[in-house]
């Protein structure tokens, strides 16, 4: 494994769960999420490697990967022409928690996932990135290609929008 692969390997390890989760929440299919996430990382790796060979570096590869994943999701829906419902059974729970807690978590997840599906697509992304993946406002702004101020306003509106759906 060469130096570029080592460095990108670390980026992959740090971000694969988050990017997969983002894509999964957008497409609601384990298989599609796996395909699109793999494609997003492959594309990011190609750019990363090219820059590395040119003695340059890819600025913020995490943001690049998220952006790529986001575009792939958009392309996916363009091809599909429709959105799917959330099959929460296909979600893999990471922990070995007891059944009672698992049911509670699944219930929360199901509720919030359904709610997320019912808000504006940009707000969905913002909720996932900022509240779930804990990206800062400036990082979200970079991925979305918007100013920090505008993103801050959108973060606030996204959460309001989700709250309205959950309370409806």
């Amino acid at each position: 494994m060469n130096e570029a692969q080592k460095r990108f390997g670390q980026i992959y390890d740090d971000n694969i769960d988050k990017v997969y989760r983002f894509v999964f929440l957008k497409v609601n299919s384990k298989e599609v999420a796996e395909d699109l996430t793999a494609e997003a990382f492959t594309k990011t790796w190609k750019v990363f490697e090219k820059k590395f060979n040119q003695k340059k570096s890819l600025e913020n590869p995490e943001a690049f990967c998220y952006r790529t994943a986001r575009n792939l999701v958009i392309d996916h829906y363009r091809r599909q022409g429709r959105r799917q419902t959330v099959p929460v059974e296909s979600v893999t729970l990471a922990s070995n928690e007891n059944l009672e807690k698992k049911v509670a978590v699944t219930s929360d997840m199901e509720m919030v996932m359904k709610a997320i599906k019912n808000i504006n697509s940009d707000y969905q992304d913002i909720i996932i990135w900022h509240y779930l993946d804990e990206l800062s406002v400036s990082e979200v702004a970079e991925i979305m290609g918007k100013s920090e101020g505008a993103t801050r306003v959108m973060v606030h509106r996204a959460l309001e929008s989700l709250k309205n759906v959950l309370e409806a």
Partner: protein
């Protein structure tokens, strides 16, 4: 709001399959190493188009004569072919090229493209010069018996080329470099005469040998070569 954020955070339980994570990691780095050829991709089409163009160009160049635009391509093709064949096959290729040069001269005469004739003759002399050099190289480090065998094997082809040349060039009334025009025949005749000089000969062989020496001294190198080859044949029958 805090409760909503907690609910959002519950989604952290969504994790990809660990086997998929590890296999995808490997595939990302493998992808570049495993070469896949997509015939319809732009680079593949470009490669195909270039190869087709080069093939057509090389094919068309095979009928080109000295002085033609494509003759350079023909020569380059021959050069690459010459570089690729093993040493022991270079003589055969030289004979083939010599015949080709003679055909070019013949074609130029037929088309009455006299302005190209000197170029064609120059190309012919160039191949013959290389033939002579290659012969010298091929016998250089060989034991005497083997070198004689090589010389005898080459002689008929050399005579055929030089006879054809004489017929063709002679009919034009063109004066060529006589030393060069029969240089390989001269080299072979000299080599074989030297060989028989050191051997004990029968009476009949001695007569043929003396005749060959006389022809060589008179600069009738091809005649000398033919005579020397006759000695060989008689000795081999015995």
């Amino acid at each position: 709001m805090k409760e909503i954020i907690n609910q959002i955070e519950s989604l952290r339980e969504i994790k990809p399959d660990s086997f998929w994570v590890s296999s995808t990691r490997g595939k990302i780095f493998e992808e570049k190493e495993s070469f896949s050829f997509n015939f319809f991709s732009k680079p593949a089409m470009a490669t195909f188009a270039t190869l087709s163009f080069v093939t057509v160009l090389m094919f068309s160049a095979q009928t080109a004569n000295p002085g033609d635009t494509l003759y350079l391509v023909k020569k380059m093709t021959e050069k690459s072919r010459f570089a690729l064949v093993p040493q022991e096959s270079k003589q055969d290729l030289d004979f083939l090229l010599a015949h080709r040069r003679l055909d070019e001269v013949s074609e130029i005469v037929r088309k009455q493209e006299i302005e190209k004739l000197s170029l064609a003759i120059k190309e012919l002399e160039s191949v013959k010069s290389r033939m002579q050099k290659n012969f010298a190289q091929s016998v250089e480090s060989k034991p005497r018996e083997e070198a004689v065998k090589i010389a005898k094997n080459l002689a008929p082809a050399v005579l055929e080329i030089e006879d054809k040349e004489e017929l063709l060039i002679g009919s034009l009334g063109v004066v060529t470099d006589t030393n060069l025009s029969s240089s390989t025949a001269k080299e072979l005749a000299f080599f074989l005469i030297q060989d028989y000089q050191e051997r004990s000969l029968t009476e009949m062989d001695q007569v043929l040998f003396d005749k060959a020496v006389k022809e060589f001294e008179n600069e009738s190198y091809r005649s000398a070569l033919r005579t020397v080859l006759e000695i060989g044949q008689v000795r081999e029958v015995e």
